[in-house]
């Protein structure tokens, strides 16, 4: 009896733990949904370039830019696809793995044409006069959004949970095999009127 009661107590404690754990797991599953979501038929929103401002200087009162938002912002799969495309389309050739070269660095907190997803989207599509090629008609729009996700992750602008834990390549960032998690995210939805390259 004594031992049976002991077993009974034990079971109930175990059940309790299980119940709590499963609540956590289910909650975790829900949160992870968007992170691991893979779409088989892409219907990305079209960018609306008319509302994307490249200057923060507006006559009179400030009217904020309408943010299109990036459907892939939290999505780990889109981000890793973005990383693959970043290499495949040769972005890496000019911007290196975020540090820059022929083109400006993408991992710092200086954004000539804006860091908001729609700013980066239009920069890729339209090109920029000091050397950024225009990829309009060359890259499908959902891939551009995936690139946007990856480019923003380089400076820590995307949620850390969606970023890949480690790089697949040569150790590029001293002291770490991971993407630069230590980078303090700097949101600059309105592009600063910084220098032109």
């Amino acid at each position: 009896m004594r031992s049976a009661r002991w077993v009974g107590e034990r079971v109930s404690r175990c059940e309790q733990t299980l119940a709590i754990a499963s609540v956590f797991v289910v909650a975790l599953l829900f949160t992870a949904c968007r992170r691991e979501e893979r779409r088989f038929r892409e219907t990305p929103p079209s960018a609306t370039p008319t509302t994307v401002r490249v200057s923060a200087l507006q006559p009179g009162a400030m009217v904020d830019t309408t943010h299109v938002g990036n459907p892939y912002e939290n999505n780990a799969y889109a981000q890793s696809e973005g990383q693959r495309l970043y290499n495949a389309y040769g972005c890496v050739g000019c911007h290196a793995n975020g540090g820059g070269g022929m083109g400006p660095a993408l991992m710092d907190d200086k954004w000539i044409y804006g860091s908001a997803p729609e700013n980066i989207y239009t920069t890729i599509i339209q090109g920029r006069p000091n050397g950024m090629p225009s990829f309009a008609g060359k890259i499908p729009s959902y891939q551009v959004w995936q690139l946007v996700t990856y480019v923003r992750s380089l400076s820590g602008l995307t949620p850390a949970g969606g970023r890949s834990a480690r790089s697949d390549d040569i150790m590029m960032y001293p002291g770490s095999q991971a993407l630069p998690m230590h980078v303090k995210p700097v949101q600059s939805f309105r592009p600063p009127a910084s220098e032109m390259p």
């Binding site: 290499n87 495949a88 389309y89 040769g90 890496v92 050739g93 000019c94 290196a96 793995n97 975020g98 540090g99 820059g100 070269g101 022929m102 083109g103 400006p104 660095a105 991992m107 710092d108 200086k110 090109g127 006069p129 000091n130 050397g131 950024m132 090629p133 390549d169 040569i170 150790m171 590029m172 960032y173 001293p174 630069p180 980078v183 390259p197």
Partner: protein, 620 residues
């Protein structure tokens, strides 16, 4: 029961054993010590011993082209400034160029006028040396297309204008060759010879031989097909084009072509040493120096690296990349060629200067060219026929095990061969080579070649490169670092007779400036942290230095002013591939920034800021 009996053996013992195993495992990763080649110990040549010489024209006190003379000596017979009085050198005047990118160009001095061509946007200034402070006489703006900046691999530099027949001729970043009247600054002609949409740019200094303007393209990192073109000096019309890849007809290889080594003989090697039509995007650009021998009537230049850098994507010897060419100066016809780095594994290029000297060699005097190649060997080549007389290392080399003088072959070291998806560590020299574009100077007085260069190694990882026209075609993650000894730069006074350094000066940063030697036995060069230095040409003793505004990567020159005094001039303005971290505001937390150069230069932003300024010095 599978369980470690930690209680019986004791936890510390288990931990210690594990640590030992881990250490052993780590040990097996270490490779056997590699066979490296490095320069022989520096030794001053014996006085009175036979030395290299070069014929000199009477000194005119000018500096009409970046190389000063056709032979590329960069030597002036002016001797007012000497080893004894150089310590009194003072700035005479300065001039701001209004451009903040890397200033690799030399000032040009003709008819009491100094001409300065800036990096992009390629402004051309004429300064009147007859007036106090040398005011601007005129300024010419060629208005190059701004987008061209996006296809310039290694900063938007320009290596200088040239003067010929009353004209200043230069290249713009967006592939225009421009001739301007040297007196009035009015444009005489402008010829577009390349296309930025295929990745082409132009950064080299033209050489004018007789009535031909010789120009070449840049873009070896963009899948560009390299060429050298000759334009008519009077009209700007293109007279001929010699491609570096493709069928013999487009490389201008014909009946006169007699390469010294069998490996460089055969029909259409510019096609058959590639797979399929890869030669069309295979590189071999011509962005370095052209020199000219009036007696032989031949021009000499090197074709650059093959593309992409990832060598597994381009099986074959990849002719005629990383190759020395000798061509007829009138028709462009190839007379000989020698491929220094066949199937170039490490971006060793071939564009470095060819300095034409007469060398005592085994009892004879041979007409040679001295070519300090990026692959680390100082090639001494008989310039009449392309025979390599010697190829001694002038920097630290572990990627190759020497040059076979019988066959001309470069002996690659297999363990340093990049492989797709693998990281290969400690390849020396690194991609910019033991020396990059920065030109040497030869003094006929000392018989020594003064070589400004660098000491860098690299880790690489090959990745697949996709060809997209007008975008980078590289396929290599590169991380550079200082070579053995930790000094990233060296100035070597090379003794070509004995094949060894006469003396060396180790510099912390890569020496990315040109060198200048004078009849006062003074050698000038600059450092990337902004010191302009004068040393004794005979033994390297430091004599004088002056701190300028921004790092020096330009080519120092000297001239006689209208007042009869000797002046020394140099551009300050850090940048170029090595200084891209400053010029382009790069982020060194990414070690692959600037094709891996930023990793080796992470301290440069603390040592030099941007700024384009001319400095002119004279004795009081």
């Amino acid at each position: 029961m599978v369980r470690l009996r930690t209680n019986r053996l004791g936890c510390p013992f288990v931990l210690r054993s594990l640590a030992a195993v881990a250490l052993l495992a780590a040990c097996t990763r270490e490779k056997a010590p590699e066979q490296a080649r490095q320069p022989a110990a520096a030794q001053l040549p014996a006085s009175g011993a036979p030395q290299a010489t070069a014929p000199l024209a009477p000194e005119d006190g000018q500096w009409v082209r970046p190389t000063k003379d056709y032979a590329g000596l960069r030597y002036s017979q002016l001797a007012e400034i000497t080893t004894a009085n150089v310590k009194n050198l003072k700035p005479a005047w300065t001039f701001s160029t209004a451009v903040l990118r890397g200033h690799e160009e030399p000032p040009i001095v003709v008819n009491n006028t100094m001409y300065i061509l800036t990096p992009f946007p390629n402004l051309l200034y004429a300064l009147d040396l007859t007036k106090p402070g040398a005011p601007v006489k005129w300024m010419f703006d060629p208005k190059p297309r701004s987008e061209a900046q996006g296809v310039a691999c290694c900063d938007v530099v320009n290596r200088g204008p040239t003067w010929a027949d009353g004209k200043i001729v230069f290249n713009t970043l967006d592939n225009n060759v421009v001739a301007v009247d040297a007196n009035s600054g009015k444009q005489l002609w402008k010829t577009k010879v390349g296309d930025i949409n295929t990745g082409e740019t132009m950064t080299m200094a033209p050489l004018v031989v007789k009535n031909l303007v010789l120009v070449g393209n840049s873009g070896g990192e963009m899948g560009v097909r390299g060429w050298l073109k000759a334009l008519d000096l009077g009209s700007g019309a293109v007279k001929w084009t010699a491609y570096s890849t493709g069928p013999d007809s487009s490389v201008l290889i014909g009946s006169r072509f007699k390469p010294f080594y069998p490996k460089d003989r055969g029909k259409d090697l510019g096609v058959s040493s590639w797979v399929g039509d890869q030669w069309m995007i295979g590189g071999g650009t011509v962005w370095g120096w052209v020199t000219y021998d009036p007696q032989l009537d031949l021009i000499y230049y090197g074709a650059a690296n093959p593309g992409p850098w990832n060598p597994d994507q381009r099986p074959g010897d990849n002719k005629w990349t990383s190759t020395l060419f000798a061509r007829d100066a009138n028709t462009g016809e190839a007379v000989w060629a020698y491929q220094m780095s066949p199937h170039d594994l490490h971006d060793y290029d071939g564009v470095n200067e060819n300095v034409l000297v007469d060398l005592p060699w085994k009892g004879q005097t041979r007409k040679v060219l001295l070519h300090p190649d990026r692959n680390g060997y100082m090639y001494v080549v008989d310039r009449t026929n392309g025979e390599v007389l010697s190829a001694q290392p002038y920097g630290y080399i572990n990627s190759t095990a020497g040059v076979d003088l019988a066959t001309g072959d470069l002996k690659y070291v297999a363990s340093k061969h990049p492989a797709l998806g693998e990281v290969v560590r400690d390849i020396c020299p690194a991609a910019p080579g033991a020396k990059d574009w920065q030109p040497s100077s030869f003094s006929p007085r000392t018989g020594l070649l003064y070589v400004p260069h660098q000491n860098l190694c690299m880790d690489v990882e090959s990745v697949e490169a996709n060809y997209i026209a007008g975008t980078p075609y590289v396929g290599m993650n590169v991380i550079m670092k200082a070579g053995p000894g930790g000094n990233r730069g060296v100035v070597t006074a090379w003794d070509p007779v004995n094949g060894r350094p006469a003396w060396e000066i180790k510099e912390d940063l890569p020496v990315w400036s040109g060198a200048l030697s004078t009849a006062g036995d003074v050698v000038f060069y600059g450092t990337m942290d902004g010191w302009f230095k004068a040393v004794d040409a005979r033994n390297g003793t430091p004599l004088w230095q002056y701190k300028v505004g921004s790092g020096i990567i330009g080519q120092p020159v000297t001239y006689r002013g209208p007042d009869g005094k000797q002046y020394v001039a140099v551009m300050s303005g850090v940048g170029g591939w090595s200084g891209a971290i400053v010029a382009g505001n790069l982020d060194p937390r990414d070690s692959t920034a600037a094709l891996g150069f930023a990793a080796a230069m992470a301290d440069l932003p603390a040592k030099s800021t941007k700024g384009g300024t001319l400095y002119v010095f004279a004795l009081p």
